[in-house]
């Protein structure tokens, strides 16, 4: 029967007081840690995915939205830009640009975004093949580690992409079943949760759909590429049924892409493009021969030069690394682009900091609330210790009579405060990590972002120290009072 045990028994002797104290303390600590945990992991996610990208170029709109969609696979893209507009950034030999990665978005599979791009994207995120090979030919995909794992995709798996970014089977594309040819190693970056295809594949999937639309509706459904859908609401948008009479897609876009289905035929007049000219033969939707025709060499050509030949095709955005971050011209480039072109350029670091700032207000408010709760809990511990002291004055005198020194009583009360603090800390930590795992689940189902809810961070030790101080602070005055117990007086009364 030592002091620690006695302190513990004293604490649990009053279960309701204990409960109240613990709820308050755990709530305060839990909330503080939850905020820290979430902020830390979110920042980590954002920073891991900065990947040395200095600038993103895309269609005009919200710069933050463009960054979020292009770099973090959150939110819809701002629109599309034509290859013609993008050409200055994508061609080799730009004096300021080290690397430029074109992105084409618009489709997804089970909520995982399909990104049309070339192999240069791997260098940004340090992506390496785990098995298989990189995407090359039309409809070949290489998938990120998380995608492969959660959708149980292996080499040779095939799936059909869906239009838009929601997991909605109604929006499935009729054509162009994609085949997994490679799986990437985990990179702990956004690369883990995307599906990589060639830009040509993205165009092709959409070309097909529109080919059929044209068959059914003899209207001028021109230039209806995948990109026109970006940023639009596609709920109930039935692409597979070919019933588009109620949708006026032509009004949805202003750029002139007339006859885009035949673009490549024109650009590559030397090639034999039978398929491009015989759409009328496709009634009945039998495309077995069709797909063959598409495996023509040029459609499997992923070179930048080849991409640039499609001057009036669209991509979504370009991720850009500068040769030098301190170069004056490079620093001015986003502003020049925004002022002098129809494109929009934004700096990820700047936009993400803006996002932190915006989140910061809410975070701050929550933090203050958490601090307030912690303070109230300290007061509650203080008051309950003081009350118990009054009720236990005989007990404390008794301990002295039995041979206990004043410091023994001081220690007893202090230990009681510390035990409360320790319990509050443990429960608070469990609460915060449990909360994080709930939030992580919801975020991962919504955005496919994986969090590590049970990972600790350095500040948890700091919180531990502060909690102990809190417990000690609440207990020290009652402990001093116990130290000064006047046993003669206490035992003389009654």
């Amino acid at each position: 029967m030592n002091l620690l045990r006695l302190a513990w028994k004293n604490i649990i002797h009053n279960p309701l007081t204990l409960l109240l104290n613990l709820i308050l303390l755990a709530l305060g600590i839990g909330l503080i840690n939850f905020i820290l945990l979430f902020n830390t992991q979110l920042k980590q996610k954002f920073e891991n995915n900065l990947a040395g990208i200095d600038m993103v170029v895309g269609a005009k709109g919200s710069p933050l939205q463009m960054i979020l969609s292009s770099m973090y696979q959150i939110d819809a893209p701002t629109g599309n830009i034509s290859i013609k507009e993008a050409k200055p950034f994508l061609r080799d030999g730009h004096p300021l640009i080290k690397k430029a990665v074109p992105l084409s978005m618009g489709d997804s599979y089970r909520g995982y975004r399909i990104i049309g791009t070339d192999h240069s994207i791997l260098e940004l995120y340090g992506g390496e093949l785990k098995e298989g090979k990189l995407w090359q030919n039309l409809y070949e995909v290489t998938v990120g580690a998380n995608v492969a794992k959660s959708e149980s995709l292996s080499l040779g798996s095939t799936f059909k992409s869906a239009h838009g970014f929601n997991d909605d089977e109604d929006l499935e594309h009729e054509h162009g079943a994609l085949t997994v040819v490679g799986i990437l190693e985990p990179t702990n970056s956004v690369l883990d949760q995307i599906i990589l295809v060639s830009t040509e594949s993205v165009w092709s999937v959409h070309d097909h759909d529109h080919d059929h639309e044209e068959e059914n509706e003899e209207d001028s459904h021109v230039g209806h590429a995948h990109d026109d859908h970006a940023g639009h609401d596609h709920s109930g948008h039935d692409h597979s049924g070919h019933d588009h009479t109620e949708h006026d897609h032509a009004s949805d876009h202003s750029s002139d892409h007339a006859g885009h289905n035949h673009d490549h035929a024109e650009d590559h007049s030397g090639h034999n493009h039978e398929h491009a000219h015989d759409h009328s033969d496709h009634s009945g939707h039998d495309h077995s021969g069709h797909e063959h025709a598409h495996t023509d060499d040029h459609r499997n050509d992923m070179s930048r030069a080849h991409l640039l030949t499609h001057a009036d095709k669209d991509i979504t955005s370009i991720l850009i690394q500068f040769k030098s971050r301190t170069n004056f011209q490079a620093l001015n480039m986003p502003r020049n682009i925004n002022e002098n072109t129809d494109l929009q350029a934004a700096s990820p670091a700047y936009e993400i900091n803006r996002l932190y700032d915006m989140m910061g207000i809410g975070t701050k408010a929550l933090q203050w609330l958490a601090l307030l709760i912690s303070l109230v809990s300290a007061i509650s511990i203080f008051v309950s210790l003081l009350n118990s002291l009054r009720q236990r004055k005989y007990e404390l005198s008794l301990l002295r009579v039995l041979g206990g020194k004043p410091i023994t009583l001081f220690s007893l009360i202090l230990i009681e405060g510390l035990i409360l603090a320790l319990l509050g800390y443990v429960i608070g930590m469990l609460l915060s990590h449990f909360g994080m795992s709930l939030l992580g689940d919801s975020l991962s189902s919504k955005y496919n972002y994986q969090f590590q809810p049970w990972a600790t961070h350095g500040k948890e030790l700091l919180i531990f120290g502060i909690t102990l101080l809190l417990g000690m602070g609440a207990a020290v005055i009652p402990a001093i009072m116990a130290y000064n117990t006047d046993i003669h007086k206490n035992l003389s009364v009654g």
Partner: protein, 213 residues
């Protein structure tokens, strides 16, 4: 064993108690009688090392109690003096048995389980050893309080009004129990009381008659 010389205590200029010299050897019993307000509790607290007297000294086992520093007095008391209070006070959060262990722990830092067990047996408390003290009857509480006074095998047992709330039969029993137990551990027993019934039992008594001036 325990003796006092020219003890006197003043709470203030108006309230002053002078006490006759007393002494009590091992295996002996001493009854200190006095009506309310004559300083019975004051004397008991002085004897127990709880209250430093204004004058005089208490000698126990050759040690002058109030020459020790306060911490040493606490330690000395815990080891050598067992006290039975008028109202039995216990630590409410722990069981009867644990109260005894706690008394051992605080006084000596150790635990003598065999001794605790035999005490509980002798005082017919074995069946209540895991009970919280507030669930025990008054008689059980008083016996437990005696057990606690004995648990460290003290040299002196001080009993403060141990019988005042009891009927004649139980009064007899408690006094008998105290005597038995005190002589078993070879301790001096000092009973401070206003209960005149005890005069018939103890031939040797000191009467306090401080007049409140």
């Amino acid at each position: 064993m325990i003796s006092t010389s020219s003890l006197s205590h003043s709470y203030n200029s108006k309230l002053r108690f002078d006490f006759p010299d007393i002494s009590c050897n091992a295996q002996e019993s001493l009854l200190i009688l006095g009506q309310s307000g004559v300083g019975k509790t004051t004397l008991l607290h002085i004897l127990a090392g709880i209250l430093k007297p204004t004058q005089g000294e208490v000698t126990l086992k050759g040690t002058s109690l109030y020459n020790l520093n306060p911490n040493a007095i606490d330690k000395f008391r815990g080891k050598n003096i067992g006290i039975v209070f008028q109202k039995p006070h216990f630590i409410g959060s722990i069981s009867a048995e644990e109260n005894l262990y706690m008394a051992q722990k605080v006084a000596t830092g150790g635990a003598d389980k065999a001794h605790v067990k035999s005490l509980l047996d002798q005082l017919q408390l074995s069946h209540r050893r895991t009970a919280k003290t507030h669930t025990m009857s008054q008689g059980e509480q008083q016996r437990l309080s005696i057990a606690r006074a004995l648990v460290n095998m003290p040299e002196v047992i001080l009993a403060d009004e141990p019988t005042s709330a009891l009927d004649d039969v139980n009064c007899q029993k408690v006094v008998q129990l105290l005597d038995e137990q005190a002589s078993q551990v070879g301790a001096a027993l000092i009973i401070v009381t206003h209960d005149n019934r005890l005069k018939d039992i103890y031939s040797d008594y000191v009467e306090l008659n401080n007049a409140i001036s």
